[in-house]
């Protein structure tokens, strides 16, 4: 089977290994080291993002035109472009200082102060769920790139139950959420079954299923069952009032119960992985399928179950999106959640609580990005670039260390754990 390289890219001679430190201290040191690398990776990614913003800003490009006449202009134009963009991002994600003073003066409500935080949490909720989906699959040795498709199918089923069935209040929303999880689970199951039965690599099948799901959604939005009466564009009926996830902070803020579902899901995944037999089996298969098979575990069954659960979690993301935020189905309902979730899972080092934190960070970036685009015109795609850069940097800790001249730590980065190829 695969041999993960016995040394990571930092070539430390074995003699430099300290005398056996007590295990908790070593583990704590490793954790803080990882946290430091993560924080620095975020910083470097933001810097690169800033460069991108500055270099594509029209004022800066104009200033380059007369660089030798007034070189300081380039710097000041760059600085203003960058600071405007990032300030807007902060205001959109965390808090807008002006709103605090306005609220203190009684000119605005206190809920407007919490608006940005509410947006961050609302954006982060589906990212956390889908990120858990990808993490769970990673732990089982599978790459679930099909989050996008699973979110879409989950949204379809949840939305359908939401507007087509009419059940008593609490039952309706529960049924809708469950329907979403089942829909996503089935979509993941297809890929898992294909992998188990035919060995088809899940990267390709899940990506193809993504596109199929998107076209399926487009088709359904044109059928009378789904399409909103009176509209000819691709939009579905509205979800019933009692199928919507309840608001948590009043109706002025978009914060809804989806975040509670996400946190519960994280707790369940954590419990599953660390304390249940099934979780142990999944992790064993993920670490070394051949050894697991020799030990008598059914690797195929593990793959199928892993993809089913992962699909279910992504379907939950779709449910929260439709039942908590959008209240209707549109072609953009999945809003790139599936791909963002991959970066969330990687940043969260495939651990449930890490995924929650990573989801919150990326939710903040994205919520702030919306404000940034509205306020300064900076396209929100820069957030995608920053996310990808963060993940690339944390996947290569030696790179960050060489930039910041940190001491090398024991233990590898996020990438050194799984090194597999097409042959499994």
């Amino acid at each position: 089977m695969t041999d993960t390289p016995t040394t990571t890219a930092d070539s430390e001679p074995a003699a430099a290994e300290p005398a056996p430190a007590p295990a908790p201290a070593a583990a704590a040191r490793r954790r803080s080291d990882t946290a430091l690398v993560t924080a620095l990776a975020v910083v470097v990614a933001l810097v690169v993002g800033a460069v991108l913003i500055a270099l594509s800003d029209s004022a800066v490009l104009d200033a380059f035109g007369y660089f030798f006449a007034a070189p300081g202009d380039v710097l000041s134009a760059s600085w203003s472009a960058i600071s405007d963009a990032y300030a807007a991002m902060f205001q959109g994600a965390i808090v807008n200082p002006d709103s605090i003073s306005a609220a203190a003066d009684g000119q605005a409500t206190w809920s407007s102060v919490f608006g940005p935080l509410s947006e961050t949490i609302v954006t982060a909720t589906p990212l956390i769920c889908a990120g858990l989906s990808v993490s769970l699959a990673f732990r089982s040795g599978l790459f679930n790139i099909g989050g996008e498709g699973q979110v879409v199918v989950g949204a379809i089923t949840a939305g359908y139950v939401g507007f087509a069935w009419h059940l008593p209040p609490v039952l309706h929303v529960t049924a809708a959420v469950l329907a979403g999880m089942i829909g996503g689970g089935v979509w993941g199951l297809i890929a898992g079954w294909l992998k188990a039965r035919t060995g088809a690599h899940e990267v390709i099948t899940t990506i193809m299923l993504n596109y199929i799901a998107l076209y399926l959604l487009l088709y359904l939005l044109g059928t009378p069952r789904f399409q909103r009466p009176g509209r000819s564009d691709a939009i579905s009926r509205e979800v019933d009032g009692d199928a919507r996830l309840p608001h948590l902070a009043g109706s002025a803020l978009r914060l809804h119960a989806g975040i509670l579902l996400a946190l519960v899901a994280a707790a369940l995944v954590a419990w599953l992985l660390t304390r249940s037999t099934l979780g142990f089996r999944l992790r064993a298969v993920g670490a070394n399928p051949d050894a697991a098979r020799t030990a008598g575990m059914s690797v195929e069954r593990a793959y199928v179950l892993a993809m089913l659960l992962a699909g279910g979690l992504a379907g939950l993301a779709g449910s929260t999106q439709v039942l908590g935020t959008a209240y209707t189905l549109t072609p953009g309902v999945s809003a790139n959640i599936g791909f963002d979730a991959i970066t969330v899972a990687l940043l969260g080092r495939a651990s449930p609580w890490g995924t929650v934190l990573a989801g919150l960070l990326f939710g903040a970036l994205r919520a702030g990005g919306v404000q940034m685009q509205a306020q300064t015109g900076t396209p929100i795609d820069v957030v995608t670039v920053i996310q990808a850069l963060i993940v690339i940097f944390i996947a290569a800790p030696p790179l960050i260390r060489s930039i910041f001249r940190l001491h090398a730590a024991r233990g590898g980065g996020a990438g050194a754990t799984l090194a597999k190829g097409w042959n499994g």
Partner: protein, 423 residues
Amino acid sequence: MSLAAQLPRTAGARLSRRYAVGGLYVILGLLSLLAFGIGTDSGKDARFGLALEGARLSMPDLVLPARVTAIVLSLLVAALGVLRVVRAESARLASWLTGLVIVSLLAAFLCWSVAGQEVSLVGIVQGTVFLSIPLVLGALSGVLCERAGVINISIEGQFLLGAFTAAFAGTVTGSLWVGLICGCLAGGLLGLLLAVFAIRYLVDQVILGVVLNVFALGLTGFLYDRVLQPNAESYNSPGIFNTIKIPLLADIPVLGPVLFDSNIFLYLTYVLLAVVHIGLFHTRWGLRVRAVGEHPTAADTVGIRVLATRYRNVLYGGLVAGLGGAFFTIGSVGAFGKNMTSGKGFIALAALIFGRWSPFGSLAAALVFGFADQIQLVLTSIGTTIPSQFMLMAPYLATIFAVAGLVGKVRAPKADGKPYVKS
């Protein structure tokens, strides 16, 4: 797979696989009989045009009684299924049978959908070849990278960067050739990133590829919104390469206009196919590359520089993928649009696997996928009962069937995806 996992399965697996696949063919044949054979009204003819306007030698249209032809083809497929079960197993025969089954089913489907109407068969073939160009180039990029042992999932990202840079550079400099070269270089740059992170920093190559795709998507989207879209005239209107007609060869009936009357990208593809095939299988360089991909430790022992070879190959792969990306803008549409590749890079990857990591195998696979893409265009234009969104799913469904049906039997280069650490 390890030996322990393989031993109990070999003999029994071969037998049951024969029954499974043969049975599948029979079932498909019967379904086709019902849907395409009996489902077609009798008396209708399917008319396939075989010549293009203005060709020197004109050919009469191929007129087939739709229902009868579809029935015959379906029965053929069922018969092939029986043959597969009965006849002794040989890999070569099995591949031929698969090919025949696919072609027959597609032909039956065509008869059914074109019944009572007319389509230009030459047009379909021409469109298929045209749409397959980026898939072939992407697959060639994959061949170069993966034969050396580095998995290249970021073909999609290299396409996007190549398309973007070709459009941008082509417009800014006013020269399509400069755009072409810049597109290649952009793909090469992403390849270099992939190489550094995969080979030097030992990042997992599948994850790295996916993340690089996200990065490329975000970067091109950002720059498109920021720079290209506001000033489309100055930054996003490179134009398209003209078609070049090769004098004598282009007049061959049916195949001539398809193969010899297209733009530079098709001819470059021919050249690259030949170069990669001959290079990989008939030169010392190719032998070294394949050795590095199969058993890097042994190659290292003999003196081959493993890491340098991998770096070089991934760079070449990136350049070829950049060329494939340039096709989207300066070879086809003429302007860049956000996410304009929409998954073609992954289909190219599937073509690579379907084609067993060989240039000409990938070519055949790419043609099948290109055909799936083309057929949905044709059928949407002549009108068909199948909703358009399902037609649009066709290439992706085809990819899944290909990967699911065949990957069990194909084998990647042994060290594919495993970073090499000198020990």
